[in-house]
Symmetry: none
Subunit: 216 residues, 4 copies
Amino acid sequence: MTAVTETATSPSSRKASRPVRRQQLIDATIAVLARKGYSALTVADVAKTAGLSVGIINFHFESKEKLLAACLSHLAEEYYRNWHDALAVPGASVAERLQLIVLGDFNDKIFTPDKLAAWIAFWGETQGRPIYVEICSAYDDARTRAVNDLCEKIIKDGGYKLVPGTVMRALESLGDGLWLGVAAGNSQAKFTITASQARQALQAMLVSFFPKHFQS
Amino acid sequence: MTAVTETATSPSSRKASRPVRRQQLIDATIAVLARKGYSALTVADVAKTAGLSVGIINFHFESKEKLLAACLSHLAEEYYRNWHDALAVPGASVAERLQLIVLGDFNDKIFTPDKLAAWIAFWGETQGRPIYVEICSAYDDARTRAVNDLCEKIIKDGGYKLVPGTVMRALESLGDGLWLGVAAGNSQAKFTITASQARQALQAMLVSFFPKHFQS
Amino acid sequence: MTAVTETATSPSSRKASRPVRRQQLIDATIAVLARKGYSALTVADVAKTAGLSVGIINFHFESKEKLLAACLSHLAEEYYRNWHDALAVPGASVAERLQLIVLGDFNDKIFTPDKLAAWIAFWGETQGRPIYVEICSAYDDARTRAVNDLCEKIIKDGGYKLVPGTVMRALESLGDGLWLGVAAGNSQAKFTITASQARQALQAMLVSFFPKHFQS
Amino acid sequence: MTAVTETATSPSSRKASRPVRRQQLIDATIAVLARKGYSALTVADVAKTAGLSVGIINFHFESKEKLLAACLSHLAEEYYRNWHDALAVPGASVAERLQLIVLGDFNDKIFTPDKLAAWIAFWGETQGRPIYVEICSAYDDARTRAVNDLCEKIIKDGGYKLVPGTVMRALESLGDGLWLGVAAGNSQAKFTITASQARQALQAMLVSFFPKHFQS
DNA sequence: GATGAATGAGCCTTCATTCAT
DNA sequence: GATGAATGAAGGCTCATTCAT
């Protein structure tokens, strides 16, 4: 029962299935992005990291550009699924849901040093690359709306004197800023933020905004 | 009395002084960073934007790498001076000082679309480029300490049940996240943040954390 | 009696005989040569045009180079057979034979847009590829000698004041030039040559050189 | 009077004028085309042949493709000027003009082994490269018309029973075919055509078509 | 026999840097 | 000081060839 039947398309086999190879290359891209940043990433790096040859990238992605776009899409979708699944918990109160969605950004699945660094790398390249904005915007809108809804309900429920949009924006931006801060801390030491400090900051904000719903 | 002392250092004069040329090139770098992003920036772009020849860059900065480092240093120092000068206002209360330092990040001097975009571009390239972290860290430490001090004093003064470090981190990260959000909004439209919304979010947080010191 | 002997060698059968597969690939090569030219031809193109996989080419021809050589050999031999068979007509006069051999170059069998284009493509790659010259030279020599013989006989027979070699060269070169001209006309429009105009030019030359043997 | 003042922009000077560099690179392209053929030509070859670095090609021509197009344009224009200037001889009869234009294709200026080979290389790549056809067609039309006019006049003048278009086509195609034949002879030996034999063939054709105007 | 994913050498192109003018 | 043509290393992409299936 506990045995896991490995599929025939393990990454190391000479002929892996298309999706497997693509994922393998996307993972390698994230790793290289984290190690060298966007501007210094080369397809040779990615191929080497994946343990494959350079030609394979254009074979599976047509171009470096499309590999990167696919990588961002992957991250965006994974991020989306993470908070979306969190909301699916049955029987959770509105406040619990808000906490789940907001603090869920620091889950082990998506909150890894490499993925964080990859996200920042993409953010930095948004200028002059409208495609990256496009890739994210649909997912982002859904997220923004979801958080806004929860804030609205809690505000009404608690009779808080707060503007939902402002609170939503504050929570979301704080999350982004903390990711940035944590990511900066990966490379060096002094005065940077740890994941648990990040969660505390977020929690403090929830408590502060909605004292009737959250306790430190 | 009739002599125009600025003449020799006008950017358009054929023989401008070193500092003037350097500033001219740094400004052009910021503009290109905003227009094309870090990875697509070329020295030819910068030179053209500055209305100068390519050769001049290596003459004044030795290399592209050093030009970019100088550009980041310029941004970091300008940012530093902005909040540091804000604190120098005589006779301001602690709460007023905190507000000044936190909302001062949205001053017209440093909060311009191009400079914002340039900052994001540099953040994205922090990975594998320790120099960029080094350039900022001294300034950042001072800032972190300054905000932390103010939070400590306000917490003590108001008897708030809050951990200064956590509040400091929340305020600073929110600021970063809002910059990110505003920058993203420069390129596209839906659901993004404006500068005034950013200030409101920051203000809401201050009010929420320190209700005795701040009112919406 | 009811057995269909051809079945096993139909091009579409999974296991076609070697000669059939080779011919299929040579035909595809001619088609690609005509569509894209020599320098842009890829084995993937050829394979796709033939409806086969890339691997099959090296299996049947060892290399791209050898496929192309085989293709040229095929064209050269087909061309050779075309005029050689024409000469085999029994009871034809010398003049008739010359006309058959010279105008036979415009027969439907060998004078097709694709084959013409393929020939021109090979001519263009003669430089630095002695093999192509070698492939053709044996066939060419035979042809040259045959046409020269016929010219000699007609000149002697008609008492013309002409040098056989010069006439032979003129006729053969005119043929080549007309092929070139017709091929050029395949891709565009204005002022180019049609097959019937080509035949007229050749005929006009025969009439002009040998008025006693040919009439327009 | 005999002293030739070399201009300041000799090809070997570090900063030659744009036209000089371009011509230098076009000449090198012709040489490489003749040595290796179209498909094997690399920009590294061209640069090396010109004694310059690879980067210079894209600097002066943007791309390999445009270098080749410029090369063909150069050949086409040079060819055009050659016969056009030949027609400018004052006091020449119509027959003399036809001879000048037709045999002028074998002038030392344009009839060199390298240029011949380059022409053939381009002819071979006409398929799928409409640009090459476009480059030549305007020049070609003018030429076709000029030869046609001369044929018309001679036919009328001599009362020949010939169709001008057919004669024109025969002369022009013979010229093309002879170029092809001579070019083939550059690389090998047996039974190929020399320049003088080519001129004889052309002359024989003129004599044959227009016996009252030309004598062998 | 046949397939097509995988490999990697080779080529075009870009661009930071140099240096003669 | 300033210019911009020239250099050449580095990187992305193509594609002939291989080989596990």
